[in-house]
Structure formats: structure tokens, C-alpha cells
């Protein structure tokens, strides 16, 4: 996981250094915006944060999916469950451990991004970078919570892995697309849509069906707040669900 993260960040580093001078010609559509101060950094930041929508999902699935299911699959549950440790402590410590590792890995990426930006943009790091970082961390809390909820349902690791991926990349996306096509509404309450705030703090690009609007600014505070609350809700509801299920979990 760490290796993938480093590779991706190196790739983007290379890209950034090579294409920075050519940006205006590459994104000729946005020509007018390059006069806006800080636009280059917003644009490059947007591109970097693109990865931050998926990378935490991979990392969290990698570290979090087997958390509970593996106890049962590898029969360690027979050792741990009868010990006098409350189950919620077991679950929460595993949760925080998974969140910490995931954050640590993603931080490697963010630190590389920070250094590159520092060098390219002459020592100026704009607010969106830090906003995006904070929101990424919140996103990690919520996606790991969702992963844990799924993990407590299954007794086999592979089922847990596959289910999180299916849920996040297939079901959420399919639902989004259907909702957008049929009802012309973006289901902002889905985790993947609210996570897009991580890139929208750089550039508010909304890709509604058939329309495509770009503003040289990042998303507004009300937007950020909405996403923040949604991600918090996902975290709390999923964790509560996981705790409840885990308390009743049987090892058959």
C-alpha cells in the first residue's frame, strides 16, 4: 500500500515539474482564469487531489476490511472473544489502529505534494491545500468506519474486501448516475459525492449531467460544511452499526 502511494506521488511529482510551464496551453479552455492569482496552484492541487478520492478507499479497504472478518476466518476469535475484554474496546482499538495506518500512508502522499508545491510555487502554500488535507483525514475516518461495518457483517475476508469495493465504486456510482440521469439531482448524501469536496476546495467543478461548470474558485463554505457533516454522519452511523453488530456477533 505504501509502495503504491509512493509511486503515485512520484508520478504526479514528475508530471507537475514537467508540465507546470505548459499548463496554460494544456488547459486552453481555462485561459481566462490563469490571471486569477493562485489559479495554477488550484489547478495542480485539483489534479493531485484527484487521487485522494480513491487512494484512501484502497488503503482503508486494505487495512480495515479484514479487521473483524479475519478474526473469524483465521479462528483467532476463539482466543480473543472469551477473554474479558469488552467487545466495543476491541472494535474501537482496531478502528483507530486502521485509521492511523491509513492516515500515515496518505500523509506520505500529502507531504510529497506539500514539498512539490512549496518548490514549484515559490514557498507559497494556499489555504485549499490545508483544507483538502483536513477533509481527506475526515474522509479516512468515515471510509474506514464504513469498511468496519462491512467487515463485521462477513466471516470471510474476501467477501468483506469485495463488498466494500462494490459498495463504493459500483453501487454508489451507479446510484449517482441513475439519480442524475433520471431525476437530474446529484445525490450529495452519498459518501463518494461528499468526498469530492477534497478536490472541490481547489476548483469547484461540477459535472452535472450535460452541464459542466468551472469556477476559478474553490467550493464555498456552505458546500464544505455540508460535506463535512455528511462524512461525520457516515462515520458515526457506521461505527455505531459496527459496534452493535459486533456486540451480537457469533462465531459459528
Amino acid at each position: 500500500m505504501l509502495i503504491i502511494t509512493i509511486l503515485v506521488s512520484l508520478l504526479l511529482t514528475y508530471f507537475t515539474f514537467t508540465y507546470i510551464p505548459k499548463l496554460p496551453s494544456l488547459f486552453s479552455n481555462f485561459k481566462g482564469f490563469f490571471n486569477t492569482p493562485g489559479f495554477s496552484q488550484r489547478l495542480v492541487g485539483f489534479l493531485w487531489s484527484f487521487v485522494l478520492l480513491d487512494l484512501p478507499v484502497f488503503a482503508s479497504v486494505f487495512f480495515g476490511s479484514p479487521a473483524i472478518s479475519s478474526e473469524i476466518e483465521t479462528r483467532t476469535a476463539f482466543y480473543v472473544f472469551p477473554l474479558p475484554i469488552p467487545r466495543y474496546i476491541l472494535l474501537l482499538s482496531k478502528y483507530f489502529a486502521a485509521v492511523s495506518v491509513t492516515i500515515a500512508v496518505i500523509m506520505v502522499y500529502l507531504v510529497v505534494q506539500g514539498i512539490v508545491f512549496y518548490m514549484v510555487f515559490n514557498g507559497i502554500l494556499l489555504l485549499p491545500f490545508f483544507l483538502s488535507m483536513g477533509l481527506t483525514i475526515l474522509f479516512i475516518f468515515s471510509i474506514v468506519a464504513v469498511t468496519f461495518l462491512v467487515s463485521t457483517i462477513f466471516n470471510k475476508n474476501t467477501y468483506a474486501y469485495i463488498s466494500v469495493f462494490l459498495l463504493y465504486f459500483l453501487i454508489f456510482n451507479a446510484y449517482s448516475i441513475i439519480s442524475e440521469v433520471l431525476y437530474k439531482v446529484v445525490p450529495y448524501y452519498l459518501l463518494n459525492n461528499s468526498a469530492s469536496i477534497i478536490e472541490r476546495v481547489y476548483l469547484n467543478i461540477s459535472t452535472g449531467f450535460g452541464s459542466f461548470t468551472v469556477t476559478p474558485d474553490g467550493a464555498g463554505y456552505s458546500d464544505i460544511l455540508t460535506s463535512l457533516i455528511i462524512m461525520l454522519l457516515y462515520t458515526i452511523v457506521s461505527l455505531a452499526g459496527a459496534l452493535l453488530l459486533f456486540e451480537r456477533k457469533e462465531v459459528k
Binding site: 482466543y79 477473554l83 457469533e250
Partner: protein
Amino acid sequence: MPQIEITNLTKRYGKLEALSDFNLQIDQPQCVSILGPNGAGKTTLLKTLTNIIKPTSGSVTIDGISVSENPMLALQSVGTLIEQPEFYPYLTGREVIEFAARVKGANRAKIKEELDHLSNLLSMEEYLERKTGTYSRGMKQRVCLAVALVMEPMILILDEPTFGLDPRGMKEVRDLIINLKKERDIIILMSTHLISEAKEVSDRVIIVDRGKKIYDTANESNDNVVKVTLETPIDIKHVNMKLENVQLTFLNESTFLLKLLNGMDNSKAISQLLSLGYKVKWAEPYNDIEEKYLKSVSL
């Protein structure tokens, strides 16, 4: 005094009833063995006692505390070994036992003391520092036993404790159980497939079949039949023992069973024998668990 009480316990897996209306009460320190064929429900019973599964209906309490409602408290002083657990392969045997000791409230000095004691008791010194991922089945079983025994539990729940051990290991574990009983007022509830093992280590034997208790030595009056061993063999064909209120069955030339009739008590029966000039080497209440088992357990 430690205490286990199981009342009207039923456990279903889907349609299959693994335990039906099961009742069991253990209210004094003793070793209770559960015998029964594969799939009888032995492990299921022990799992409900350790909060690994929840009863479909009925209640399971340890020292009066419901296991499913308050597992933390109920299992505070219970050591368990259920269905050959595995450990995190990257931990050493020492770390596995240490973790169990720590969650049971041991401080550093106590942990060391327990580890030294248990590694010696279960002859694990040689591999305790190795990662459990590299252990053989029997080595793991010993670590399981150490985890169950750590911090001197008042109740031990052991699912086939000698499973996977070599003959010496089996003997060591049986001796260990016998010694534990002697040294401390402890309840040991174990399942086994070995009738001889059940006889050797336990004070009470329960036979389970298809989720039901079909035999419990506690419910049989043991004094009904006495097994007598004589010092010298006798000629069975020509013997003519005239004993009052006693029915005689020979097992071999020096052992026979006395079935006591009409309220005859065993000391009187023995003194009749002595007065007829037979030298009694040994006499004990007799329960033929093996016979019971073969008779009552379905094929």
C-alpha cells in the same frame, strides 16, 4: 464457590437444533466430562458458556451472572479453550499468553510469574519465544491450555483439551487436570471423545446425543452397584456365594459386580463377603459409562 447453571437452553442453527432444552447445573467444585458422538452438540454447549454464540432461548449463567447479557463479568474468572483456536501468527507464544494475562488484570511481575509457571507446567520452554505461526498443532494446543489456565481461573471450560497431543502430552494434561482439582476448588467442564479419559479425570460424566442430555452420572444412584476386586482369583464355575439381597455378576475371575437390592447398603454387602472368607482387595461404586454410551447413543 464457583457455579454454572444452564436452564432450558436451546440453540438452533437455521433449522437444525444443535441443543434442545438442555439443563445442567454444577454447583460444587468438580470435574465434569461431556461425552457424545460427533455433532452431538458438545462444542455448541461450551460456546454458549463462553459468549462465542448466543442462546436461541434459555439461559446460561456463571456465578449467577448471565453470560450473554454480561459476558465481561461472567467470564472474569473463567479460562477457556474452545475448538482449537489459532493465534496471530506474528506473535510469539509468550506474547499470546502475556496478552491474556494482561486483560485478566496481571501486572508485570505477575505476568512473569505466570509465564514461568505455565511454561514449566506445560513444558513449553523450548518454543515459547518462537512465533506461533511456526508451531505444530500440539504446540498450539499447549499454548491454548496456558491461555486457559493463566491467572488461576475458578472455572475451566475445555473443548477436547487433549486433542492433537502426543501420548505423553495427553497424560500430562490429564494429570494436570487431576492436580488442579486437588489443589484448588475449581470447576472443570470439559468435552472429550475418550471414555477412558472421562473416567480417569472426572467426578461426573454427562452423555449428550443430538442436542439432548441422555445420561448424567449425578442422576444415577451410584451406590446401587459395587464393583469388587478380590485379592486372589476364584473358580467362577464352582463358586457358591450365598449373599442376601445382592445380585452377583462376574466380570472375570477376580472381579464381579454386586447389585444391591431391597435397600441393602454397600458396607453390609462387603461384610457379608468378608464373613464368607473372601479377601476383598478393592471395592468401588460402579458406573459403566462405556456400556451406557454404546447403548444410548444413536448410530
